[in-house]
């Protein structure tokens, strides 16, 4: 760790979105030549923090000091000029440009005329420095995500960054690729760059970070040198409350096995996934982002069908090639990505609630029974305690928690037999979270088989009858309710020890 002066100091940063408190008085110091990991649960405020650093958001309060000078950043171009660059889990590349161009396109200082040869040579040099075997003249579109990320790092180096923010860069990478990435990170560190590393896999954080900062619910919890902290402590700090804070799944009988999955696999994504879910059972899926849980769900929902293995519903082998197939069998999937895949936000609450069940309200001449629609929507709005001015209010005007509930209402309206919930409480406030947990329990009671995917470990543990731990596309353990402890599940999911 460096003794030198801090390169970047964030002090007393606060940021609110409407009623949601994203960051509250957070301070952070980055030294040149260190890898500083920021960890925390989803919604802890990590993304907001880096968005403030790169000028995408402006802080409500607090200040940012770069190399001793107070700075304000209002867009990412300014951030770049100041030597702050960011790399995201999904690389922001230009697919139609070559690798070399992707690296140099944002440069202001390279003259008006592009010297292709020099640029290619320089790019090759940069890539070689990072030990990346990428042809600089190739189109970026044809690279793997890992290579695209390498290109982004090369770009950051080329910009002479002083602070490099890496936002879950390993999320989409294989173990081998992660190793390569870490080599690159280390060589960057050696050249004196301060690296802000945001990661979910604690194993990786311990491997790469010099210091670790924990954020929780928008607050700064701790900053500790890596060698002075253990995984257990870290998890405790991240979760911050006892598992007993959560709604606990009540005991109840589990009925017939409705869904049986045998050796399900999809080339390069997940393999040999087998499990069963019974009526009224909640099967939790724990694991890190990128462990392949969503991909299994998408295979069950027919979006991205599996290429090996079998799926049985009620003992009958089925083929699921589209969401329509899945819905016809009573399988519903609540997506983790509310805005892109879950809701039609300019539409009314009613329209969103009935979106997946239009057929039910359609008369023989194709008209919608709007009274029945509104009745059902009203029922669900009341049941789920969705706060909305009216049933015809566009969903875009609701808060995140109420949007999430609306999405849940949409799937409940399907009357599913099997409900897959993917991060059902991500990014919503505590109150809404408790509501959602209550509903999940009610649903299970009513006999629905539930697959609960969540990166929120305490949530999984509290809610599930059994817990599946996934890592790198494979199931690493299935734990009964009494065996499922934080440590055991985390160990299986993170892969240490």
């Amino acid at each position: 760790m460096s003794e030198s002066a801090p390169v970047l100091t964030m002090s007393g940063i606060s940021k609110r979105f409407g009623t949601t408190r994203a960051l509250e008085d957070v301070s952070l110091i980055l030294y040149p030549g260190e890898v500083h990991a920021v960890v925390g649960e989803n919604g802890a405020g990590k993304s907001t923090l880096i968005k403030i650093m790169t000028g995408i958001y402006s802080a409500d309060r607090g200040s940012m000091t770069l190399a001793g000078q107070k700075v304000s950043v209002s867009n990412s171009a300014e951030a770049q000029l100041l030597g702050i660059a960011a790399i995201y889990q999904e690389p922001l590349i230009f697919p139609d440009l070559s690798v070399a161009e992707n690296i140099f396109i944002g440069h202001q200082d390279r003259g008006r005329i592009v010297n292709w040869d020099a640029m290619n040579d320089e790019a090759a040099l940069l890539l070689a420095k990072l030990d990346l075997d990428i042809d600089p003249q190739i189109l970026a579109a044809s690279l793997t995500v890992a290579s695209q990320q390498g290109v982004e790092i090369a770009k950051a180096i080329s910009l002479d960054v002083r602070v490099l923010i890496m936002d879950e860069p390993t999320a989409s990478l294989s173990a081998h690729e992660v190793n390569r990435l870490f080599q690159q990170v280390r060589s960057l560190r050696e050249s004196g760059v301060a690296i802000l590393f945001i990661g979910h896999r604690l194993e990786e954080v311990f491997e790469i970070a010099d210091r670790i900062t924990v954020l929780r619910d928008g607050r700064h919890i701790s900053t500790t040198p890596t060698n002075e902290v253990t995984e257990e402590v870290l998890i405790q700090e991240m979760v911050g409350r006892d598992v007993s804070d959560f709604f606990i799944r009540t005991e109840h009988p589990i009925g017939e096995r409705v869904l049986k999955v045998r050796s399900l696999g999809r080339q390069g994504v997940f393999e040999d996934v087998s499990f069963e879910v019974g009526e009224g059972e909640i099967l939790g899926f724990a694991g890190l982002v990128g462990a392949g849980r969503t991909d299994v769900a998408l295979a069950l929902f027919g979006v991205a069908p599996a290429d090996t293995g079998s799926i049985e519903v009620d003992g009958v082998s089925v083929r699921l090639n589209s969401p329509r197939d899945a819905l016809a069998l009573g399988i519903a999937y609540l997506s983790e990505d509310r805005r892109r895949l879950g809701l039609s936000v300019p539409q009314s609450v009613t329209a969103n609630v009935t979106m997946a069940t239009l057929k039910r309200y359609t008369s023989s001449i194709g008209l919608l029974d709007s009274i029945a629609e509104r009745d059902d929507a009203r029922g669900l709005v009341e049941k789920l305690r969705i706060l909305t001015p009216s049933l015809s209010t566009p969903v875009a005007q609701l808060s995140g928690g109420n949007q999430q509930k609306t999405m849940l209402a949409k799937w409940l309206n399907v009357n599913p037999r099997i409900l897959i919930l993917d991060e059902p409480t991500r990014g919503i406030d505590v109150g809404a979270k408790a509501d959602v947990h209550q509903f999940i329990d009610d649903l299970a009671r009513s006999g629905i088989a539930i697959v609960l995917i969540s990166s929120d470990l305490p949530e999984v543990l509290a809610m599930s009858d059994r817990v599946v731990a996934m890592r790198e596309g494979q199931i690493r353990g299935i734990f009964g309710r009494d065996q499922a402890t934080q440590e055991r599940v985390m160990t299986a999911a993170v892969g240490t020890a």
Partner: protein, 322 residues
């Protein structure tokens, strides 16, 4: 009311423009306020506005159909050529003409919905290609001599002073309005227009909806082409040339987003009424055709620019004016 206003700001603006237009026209031209003129005002553009209704669906769905005017010409050409060949009853030729439009829509729809080509390019090719097909069929002929009942339907009032095409327009409009606002299909069109992914994840058959839309668009254009032939009493290869611009203009003016997902039939109807009234007013004021085109062009630009500017002001001002 304020709830309605907040969500239908554009319709409100159009309503004001329409009322101002009507008052202005009435003040400026003594001939404007007459029943005959109101019939005329619709009748003179009836084929265009029939297609406008279908186009509204296509654009709300996030696509575009540039080929409609050419398909109108194509359908009329098919009908006319069959009439000339004389082997089949004329009524059948009319049916085939309309079906030719649907077929044109089907071909384009397959390329868009199933193969995934962008509709802008496919229908641009259709715009050129189906016009070409009409010319191939008719060459330099101008085909008239349709049975008298056909001409009469096209040119004479059917119910009192109201001609058939007007009845068809209002019937289509009523159906379309109900389907878009109250129908399952209309709901799907909106959802897909917002996000095809959300629709797919909700079990909606996206490509099926798109395919049907383009068939309907072709069918409507076919019907409009045949109606136009009846009104004109004869068909040439250039029938309805360049109508697509007016048609798209009216839809966009109605507040339908070119990116899909938003817009209402009410807005489109208001835009249709506004454009027709402005054109009528300008016509009665003896304003030249090219000026009328320019005014509509300005209206199109203004219709998007003004709300954009208002939006920007609103975001800056703390409290919006009621």
């Amino acid at each position: 009311m304020s709830d309605w206003l907040s969500r239908h700001r554009w319709e409100a603006v159009l309503l004001v423009v329409l009322v101002v237009t009507i008052i202005g026209n009435a003040a400026l031209s003594p001939f404007y306020l007459g029943f005959g003129n109101f019939i005329n005002l619709f009748w003179l553009s009836i084929e265009k506005i029939i297609v406008v209704v279908a186009m509204a669906f296509v654009i709300i769905n996030g696509e575009i159909d540039l080929s409609v005017a050419s398909v109108m010409g194509f359908s009329a050409a098919v009908m006319a050529s069959m009439q000339v060949s004389g082997d089949i009853p004329f009524l059948l030729a009319v049916v085939f003409g309309i079906l030719a439009g649907a077929l044109a829509g089907l071909v384009q729809g397959l390329l868009i919905a199933r193969i995934g080509l962008p509709s802008l390019v496919v229908t641009l090719a259709g715009l050129i290609g189906f016009r070409g097909a009409a010319r191939v069929i008719l060459e330099d002929r101008s085909i008239g001599d349709f049975p008298e009942w056909f001409d009469r339907l096209g040119q004479q009032p059917l119910l009192g002073p109201i001609p058939l095409a007007l009845i068809i327009f209002f019937a289509i409009l009523a159906v379309a309005w109900v389907v878009l606002e109250r129908g399952s299909f209309g709901r799907k069109v909106y959802i897909i227009g917002n996000s095809a992914d959300v629709a797919r994840y909700s079990g909606i058959g996206v490509s099926g909806v798109k395919l049907r839309l383009f068939i309907v668009s072709g069918l409507t254009a076919g019907l409009a082409g045949v109606l136009f032939a009846a009104r004109l009493g004869s068909v040439r290869g250039s029938l309805a040339e360049f109508f697509e611009l007016d048609i798209i203009t009216m839809v966009l003016l109605g507040g339908v987003s070119i990116f899909g997902g938003s817009g209402t039939m009410f807005g489109v109807v208001l835009a249709v009424f506004t454009v027709l009234n402005i054109r009528n007013g300008l016509g009665l004021a003896n304003v030249d055709g090219i000026m009328q085109t320019g005014v509509v062009g300005l209206l199109l630009l203004g219709s998007v620019l003004v709300p954009n500017l208002i939006e920007r002001r609103r975001t800056r001002l703390p409290a919006p004016e009621p």
